[in-house]
C-alpha cells in the first residue's frame, strides 16, 4: 500500500559553527509505513529529526510534506503541519499536573469564544490518552511524582494528542519495562494502520527489525542504507552502523602498564544510591584507562557525579590511594588529585565569553598564589598557560583575548581538559570527552590521553561511542539500568558484545 511519499527529505545539510553534521541527507517515508532509523551517536539522526520537527533549520536541502514544500520555522509550526515529535530528552514540566503537561497549549475550552478551560473535557481527553499508552495515574497528579519510565509514557501520550500525519519516536523505550514497550508497539501498529507515517529512531535493533517496513542507516551525517527491511539482519545493521575504518584515529595500542596495586588511584566498593546506581565496584590504577559504556539513561553520568562528590551516595566506599572519601565531599577529591570533565561543557564547564586563558587558569589559580589574599604569580601562570596551549595544540588566535565562544567544539573541549591538566591531577574522569568534536580534534585528544597515562596518570572515561572506548581503554565496564553488568579486558573487546551488554542482553547478538 501507500506509494506516494508523505514526507521526503532531499539533500538536507546542516553545520554547527564549523562542524558539518549532516551531508546531503535524503530519504522518504510513505503514509502507513514505519521507517526504522539507526546509527551511532553523532551519526546525525537526532539532528535530522530536529530539522523535521522545526527545532533546527537546515542549511541546505528541501523537505516536502504530502507533495508540498515544508519549511517549519519552529516546533509549533511543525506541529500544526502535522509533525508529532516524541523526544528522548523529556520536556515534562515537573511542577505541572499530568493533564496540564499532556494538553499544554491545547486544552479543550468551555466554548470556542471564551478562553476558559473545560476541566471536565480535559480530564476525559487526558484519561483517553493515558489509557492508550497504558499509564495508570490520576491526570491531576503532579508530573514530579512520575518515574522516568512513566514520564516517557507521558511524553508519548502527548505526541498522540497531536493530530499528526507524521510521528517521530526518538528512542522511546529507553526507560520502559518490557510490558510498557509491548503496549507502545501495539499502539504504533494501530497508528500505522490509521495511515500515519512513522519515523522510529532507536538503538534497539531487535525493536527496529520487528517494527519497521523500511530501514535507514546513518553514519557520520550521511545516509548509508535506505531501503526495505527485506533481508537485513542485526549483524548487517551493525556492520553498516560502525563500518568505518577507524584504526588510524586511535593511538597505536599500548601495553597495559598498570600493575595490580594495593591502593589504586580510585576504588569503589559496593557504592549504591537509591534509584540511581546499585552495588558498583570498580578500580582505576595508575597508568590505565578504564572505560564505562552504556546507553543514555543507564546511570553512567550519574555514577561519575557520585564518584566526584557532586551527588551523594548512601552505601559503599570510595577510596583514592587508600584514603576514604566521604559522600559528597568535593574538596577532598580535588585535594586527592581528582579532576572531572562534565558532559555538558556549555553549561557546567566553560565561561563562554571569557578567554581561553581565563578558562584554563580557573582551577589552577591556587597553585599560583600562596593564599587567597596574596598576589597571583602572573608571569608563572602566563608561561604555564602558553605551555599548556602548545601541548594541547590549541587553535586560537590569542589565548588571552579571543572569547571561548568563537572557538570550535574541539578546541573548547581541549580548554576544559587543559584547565584540569594545569592542576596536575592524578586521576581524570572524562564524561563524553569528544562529544561534538570533529575528527581531527578527536585524534589529538586521544593522543593526549595516551600520553597522560604513559606518565602514570589514571583515566576513567565515559562514552556512548563504543569504538572510542575500544580504541582507548585497557578495560571496559558496561552499565545497564544503574548496575555494572559486565567487564571486558582489552583482549576480549568486541563492539557487538559490548553493545548487547549495554542493552541488558547477555547473550551475543
Amino acid at each position: 500500500m501507500a506509494n506516494a511519499s508523505r514526507l521526503r527529505l532531499e539533500g538536507v545539510s546542516k553545520s554547527f559553527s564549523t562542524v558539518r553534521v549532516l551531508h546531503g541527507v535524503s530519504f522518504e517515508v510513505a503514509a502507513g509505513e514505519v521507517l526504522g532509523i539507526v546509527g551511532e551517536n553523532g551519526s546525525g539522526k537526532s539532528t535530522t529529526m530536529n530539522i523535521i520537527a522545526g527545532v533546527l533549520a537546515p542549511d541546505e536541502g528541501t523537505m516536502t510534506l504530502d507533495g508540498r514544500e515544508f519549511t517549519p520555522t519552529n516546533r509549533r509550526a511543525a506541529e500544526k503541519a502535522g509533525i508529532a515529535f516524541i523526544q528522548q530528552e523529556l520536556t515534562i514540566f515537573p511542577n505541572l499536573s499530568v493533564e496540564e503537561n499532556l494538553l499544554l497549549g491545547r486544552a479543550p475550552r468551555l466554548s470556542a469564544a471564551l478562553p476558559f478551560i473545560s476541566q471536565k473535557q480535559r480530564r476525559v481527553r487526558a484519561m483517553e490518552l493515558l489509557r492508550a499508552v497504558g499509564l495508570e495515574v490520576n491526570p491531576g497528579t503532579p508530573a514530579s511524582r512520575l518515574s522516568t519510565g512513566e514520564r516517557q509514557l507521558l511524553e508519548i501520550a502527548r505526541g498522540l494528542s497531536i493530530d499528526a500525519r507524521v510521528m517521530i519516536f526518538d528512542e522511546p523505550t529507553t526507560s520502559l519495562t518490557n510490558k510498557e514497550t509491548e503496549r507502545l508497539f501495539t499502539q504504533i501498529d494501530r497508528l500505522k494502520a490509521s495511515g500515519l507515517a512513522i519515523l522510529y529512531v532507536s538503538h534497539m535493533l531487535n525493536d527496529i527489525l520487528q517494527l519497521s517496513d523500511k530501514l535507514l542507516v546513518m553514519r557520520d551525517g550521511r545516509v548509508i542504507f535506505h531501503g526495505p527491511k527485506a533481508d537485513m539482519t542485526q549483524e548487517r545493521l551493525i556492520v553498516a552502523m560502525v563500518g568505518r575504518t577507524i584504526d588510524a584515529l586511535f593511538p597505536p595500542s599500548r601495553e597495559t602498564v598498570a600493575k595490580r596495586e594495593e591502593n589504586p588511584l580510585l576504588e569503589l566498593r559496593g557504592v549504591s544510591e537509591l534509584e540511581i546506581v546499585e552495588d558498583i565496584h570498580l578500580k582505576v590504577s595508575a597508568g590505565e584507562i578504564v572505560g564505562i559504556s552504556g546507553l543514555m539513561g543507564s546511570g553512567r553520568s550519574e555514577l561519575a557525579r557520585i564518584i566526584f562528590g557532586l551527588d551523594p551516595h548512601q552505601q559503599g566506599h570510595i577510596t583514592a590511594k587508600g584514603t576514604s572519601l566521604t559522600s559528597g565531599d568535593l574538596g577532598a577529591r580535588l585535594h586527592s588529585g581528582m579532576a572531572f570533565l562534565t558532559e555538558d561543557r556549555r553549561h557546567e564547564g566553560l565561561m563562554m565569553d571569557a578567554s581561553a586563558a581565563e578558562n584554563m587558569a580557573l582551577a589552577a589559580l591556587p597553585l599560583f598564589s600562596s593564599s587567597v589574599y596574596t598576589r597571583l604569580r602572573t608571569a608563572a601562570l602566563k608561561a604555564a598557560l602558553q605551555e599548556m596551549a602548545g601541548m594541547l595544540r590549541l587553535k586560537c588566535d590569542d589565548i588571552e583575548t579571543s572569547p571561548v565562544r568563537s572557538l570550535s567544539g574541539g578546541n573548547q573541549q581541549k580548554i576544559v581538559i587543559g584547565r584540569w591538566l594545569l592542576c596536575r591531577p592524578k586521576l581524570l574522569i572524562l564524561d563524553e570527552p569528544t562529544r561534538g568534536v570533529d575528527v581531527g580534534a578527536k585524534e589529538e585528544i586521544y593522543a593526549l590521553l595516551a600520553a597522560l597515562v604513559a606518565q602514570g596518570k589514571g583515566i576513567l572515561v565515559i562514552s556512548s561511542e563504543i569504538e572510542e572506548l575500544t580504541g582507548l581503554c585497557d578495560r571496559i565496564l558496561v552499565m545497564h539500568r544503574g548496575c555494572i553488568v559486565s567487564e571486558f579486558s582489552r583482549a576480549e573487546f568486541n563492539q557487538k558484545k559490548i553493545l548487547s551488554a549495554a542493552f541488558g542482553r547477555m547473550e551475543a547478538i
Binding site: V55, N74, R75, R76, E79, T91, F93, P94, N95, L96, E100, L104, G105, A107, P115, F116, I117, S144, S147, T148, G149, S175, T177, L274, E275, I276, V277, E278, G297, S298, G299, E302, Q314, R481, G482, C483
Partner: protein, 330 residues
C-alpha cells in the same frame, strides 16, 4: 522508614508551612495579649493586609515565571499621584480604572525591557523603580497630596458588613485564581518558570505570557496603591517605599519559589496576613517601635530559608531515577 519517605513527608509539611507558621504566630500573640483574638483586631489585620495582598498577588505572577519586579512600590506611588492629580473628584470606578491603567502601562514598560531587550528582570525593574519614583516626585512637585473625601471614604466604608478594602483584595484574589486555574495562562506561567527553554520547545507563547505578567504586576500594584491611598488619605514622597520587598517576602512566605514555577494564589495572601499579624501583634504588646523592622526582617529571613529548603527537597524528589522498580504484579 526510608530516606525517601521522610523527604516526601517533609515536602508535604512544607507545603502547608505558611498556614502552620501563621497559626503559631497567632497563638503566641494570643498568649501575650488578650486583645489579639477579638473580632475587631482580626478585622483590623485584614484591613491592613488588603493593599499589600493585592500588590503581592501581582508580584506572584512575575515570581512564578522566575522573574522579579522591584518597581511595584514606585508603581503604587505613581498610580496614587496620578489619581490625586488627574481624577481627584471622579466616580470611584473611574479612579480604579485610572490607577490600574497607570500601573499596567508602567508594567508594560517593564515587560518591554525584559522581553524585547532581554534585560534581566532584576536590573530592568530596579532601573524603572527609580524612574517611576522620579516621575511621581516630578508630577507631585515633591508635595504631599491629599486624597479626595469620597476616596478616603472607601477606606472606611463597609459593604455587606465587610470593609470595602477587603472586597478589593477578594476581587484581586478571584482575578488571580481565574487566570491561574481557569485559563491556560496559569499553566504557561508555571511552565516558563520551571524551564524557560523547555517551554519554548513545547510551544508556549513565551513573549506574550512574560509581557502579560509584568502588565498584571503593574496593574495590581496600581490598585494596591489606590487602596493604600484610600486608607492613609494622602500621598507623601515615601508612599509605597519598600513595598516590593514586603510583597516578595509575602509571596515567598506563602510558598512561591524565587526559582520560579512553584506557588499558589492563596499562599501570598497568607504571607501578607502573616506579616501584618506580626506587626499588629508587636503593637498590641507595646513593643519598642524600633523592633518592628527587625522582626519583619527575621520573618523575611525565615521565608527565604524555607524557600531554599523547599527547592532543595524538590530537586531530591524530582531527581532522575534510573533503577525503576518494576511493579511486582504481573
Amino acid at each position: 522508614m526510608t530516606i525517601k519517605s521522610i523527604v516526601q513527608i517533609l515536602t508535604r509539611i512544607l507545603r502547608w508551612s505558611p498556614l502552620l507558621f501563621l497559626g503559631i504566630v497567632a497563638i503566641i500573640f494570643a498568649g501575650l495579649s488578650p486583645r489579639f483574638f477579638t473580632i475587631g483586631n482580626i478585622q483590623a489585620i485584614l484591613v491592613q493586609s488588603s493593599w499589600l495582598a493585592i500588590v503581592a498577588l501581582g508580584m506572584n505572577f512575575v515570581l512564578l515565571t522566575a522573574g522579579v519586579d522591584l518597581s511595584v512600590g514606585a508603581t503604587m506611588y505613581l498610580a496614587a499621584v496620578a489619581v490625586s492629580l488627574i481624577v481627584p473628584a471622579a466616580p470611584i470606578w473611574i479612579v480604579v480604572l485610572v490607577a490600574a491603567l497607570v500601573g499596567a502601562i508602567f508594567g508594560g514598560a517593564n515587560g518591554l525591557f525584559v522581553v524585547r531587550l532581554g534585560i534581566p528582570p532584576f536590573v530592568a525593574t530596579l532601573a524603572t523603580a527609580f524612574v517611576g519614583r522620579g516621575l511621581g516626585l516630578f508630577f507631585s512637585a515633591n508635595h504631599v497630596l491629599n486624597a479626595g473625601d469620597h476616596l478616603a471614604a472607601v477606606g472606611r466604608e463597609f459593604w455587606l458588613g465587610v470593609p470595602v478594602v477587603i472586597w478589593f483584595a477578594v476581587a484581586g484574589a478571584l482575578v488571580s485564581l481565574t487566570l491561574m486555574r481557569a485559563l491556560e495562562f496559569g499553566s504557561f506561567v508555571r511552565a516558563i518558570g520551571a524551564d524557560h527553554e523547555g517551554a519554548r520547545r513545547a510551544g508556549v507563547p513565551i513573549t506574550r505570557v512574560t509581557w502579560s505578567v509584568y502588565v498584571l504586576a503593574g496593574a495590581f500594584a496600581g490598585i494596591g496603591g489606590l487602596i493604600s491611598l484610600a486608607q492613609t488619605a494622602s500621598v507623601s514622597p515615601a508612599f509605597g517605599l519598600n513595598a516590593e520587598f514586603l510583597a516578595i517576602a509575602a509571596a515567598v512566605l506563602g510558598g512561591t519559589s524565587l526559582f520560579g514555577g512553584r506557588g499558589s494564589v492563596w499562599g501570598p495572601i497568607v504571607g501578607v496576613v502573616l506579616i501584618t499579624t506580626v506587626q499588629d501583634g508587636m503593637a498590641l504588646i507595646n513593643a519598642n517601635p524600633y523592633a518592628y523592622p527587625v522582626t519583619t526582617g527575621i520573618v523575611i529571613f525565615i521565608a527565604v530559608a524555607l524557600d531554599s529548603l523547599r527547592s532543595r527537597l524538590n530537586t531530591r524528589v524530582e531527581r532522575k531515577r534510573i533503577r525503576v522498580v518494576e511493579p511486582v504484579s504481573a
